[in-house]
Symmetry: C2
């Protein structure tokens, strides 16, 4: 059985559960590599993946005997057989933050489960610590994003629209080995760069404009997330001070990103330095990145946890102002 | 108060509910025009939209007094005030197919609701019948898609990859008034055109290839969905027969798409004609289109309802084979 499934079986045993229904497709991909529509059942005897005829061939081509997962079609089972999956199971875990109320009721009825037990994102929390293969994929996604940024420095010219630049980002990703954007890119120039969730517009890039670019790609399921602020032609005097403040904090944070560091202290350090200079930190300092673009851990002053080895997080100090500057990775 | 909210208040009254929590953002957009993160509360006295500080300004700029909606920030209210929203309400409706089990529990606790009652997609069902403004927007989305198709007929050349064509589709939409794709376009050429959910690849388009293009855009929130099969250079002899069969069925269906027509009979007519010629109909004959790319009604042999005036549906007969031909609108 693969390492991640072994971990899950151990974990639910510790939590006094005799089985689990995994339904969030991102968690299923993490545990099995499967990208399809279906449900993973961790039962007392077996790990079972249920799907429909559209995906059977692809799923079977991904899994090996070592994965320890048996694949079936939903329609293979009778009413009785569904009710037998979790026979003699007192508590069966489910993903209460993913499953709708309607599905919860359906599962209770269809599988005749004694107690569907909340699992409090155990899999999402485990996903914080990346293994070697995951780190390789995220690194590759970051490399493609770096290449894209270098390409943009050549590509962007006065008179281009934000939309044109955003489309070029996606084109670059899709033609350089990535599956596509990990989120809709933000390209915000001039005054638009102050909008928190700016959508690229038909505004043309002008001399002296700061351009905030927030972009990322997906490589084999794993995301990158990069923000850079660049300037067209020259850097306006009034922006230099704040740009340098943000950059200093980003560099400082990078040095402190190590095992055992308190997330709260890390975040407060930036908050304090910003406030000392009369600015406020926007949102949080960063977030985990992996199969989801935003995942655990969230780097904020309210997080009481410590950083651990092999976490992957963004480092994105930014301040609140009508001219927001991000210089993050 | 706007017509749609008036309808909803009447509807829940009929269902013996004294209030409703609307949480699906697509339903909120339908009822109010608001595009943001928040919750719409239909209470006994008022319609209240709760959101956070990021959206307040934008939401207030959209709504007018006529909408009859009061906007507040989540943080404006104390624990007691949350519990008062649905005071003296016996039954409060919620969207059981959208709300997660965790949120359901949170709402029960936070709003101290006596009975959160399932509403069985009442809003989604109402969305089947489009008003004039909605039809205008869908028409506009279809027009942009038509223009894109005409553009592609000029654009596509032997040697281009499926990916390049898919990127051109998105570029065209985004630079011709649409917000973007309503779904990731399918561009499947040659043997790839047999895959049910083909992702555009690096395969180059070759002479004699059929190219299946399934694409759509979003205009002011409303979707279009168009599939066409074209041929590069010439039409291979073996495909002509099935192409004509599919086209005949599409034209026939178009004639029958009118008020009072049985969806089941409509679908069975195509199924039967396909079977008569030795083919099977894939999935269903079509589906509703609106704020969602797939919505009610679903045109299948299992749907017992009749077509009504101002429904908007796709007409997409296609058959199951290693060479799938779609010629749909």
């Amino acid at each position: 059985m693969n390492t991640k499934l072994k971990w899950l079986r151990e974990k639910i045993k510790m939590l006094d559960m005799q089985g689990m229904m995994v339904t969030n497709p991102v968690n299923i991909r993490y545990l099995t590599g499967i990208v399809a529509e279906g449900i993973l059942l961790i039962t007392r005897k077996e790990n079972i993946y249920l799907t429909d005829s559209r995906y059977i061939e692809e799923v079977n081509s991904i899994l090996t005997i070592d994965d320890g997962i048996i694949v079936h079609e939903f329609k293979d089972f009778s009413k009785d057989e569904y009710e037998n999956f979790f026979l003699f199971c007192e508590n069966v875990g489910f993903e209460e933050e993913y499953v709708t109320y309607a599905k919860y009721k359906q599962y209770m009825h269809q599988y005749k489960i004694n107690n569907l037990q909340e699992t409090e994102k155990i899999i999402e929390k485990q996903r914080m610590i990346k293994d070697e293969e995951e780190i390789e994929k995220i690194t590759k996604a970051c490399e493609i994003t770096d290449q894209c940024f270098n390409h943009l420095l050549e590509f962007i010219k006065v008179g281009q629209t934000e939309k044109e630049i955003a489309l070029e980002i996606e084109r670059f990703f899709k033609t350089h080995g990535a599956e596509g954007n990990s989120f809709e890119p933000i390209v915000a120039s001039g005054k638009n760069s102050s909008k928190p969730h700016a959508v690229p517009t038909d505004k043309k890039v002008d001399l002296g404009d700061p351009i905030t670019i927030d972009m990322g790609c997906i490589y084999q399921g794993y995301c990158s997330d990069m923000t850079r602020t660049i300037f067209v032609g020259y850097v306006p005097e009034q922006i230099k001070e704040i740009y340098d403040l943000v950059l200093k904090n980003q560099c400082q944070t990078e040095k402190e990103l190590k095992e055992g560091m308190s997330i709260k202290i890390l975040s407060r350090m930036v908050e304090n330095d910003f406030q000392l200079h009369g600015y406020d930190l926007v949102h949080s300092l960063g977030h985990g990145v992996g199969l989801d673009i935003h995942e655990y851990p969230f780097l904020s002053g309210k997080n009481d946890n410590l950083l651990k080895a092999n976490m992957v997080v963004t480092n994105e100090p930014r301040y609140l102002s009508s001219w927001k500057i991000w210089c993050t990775y």
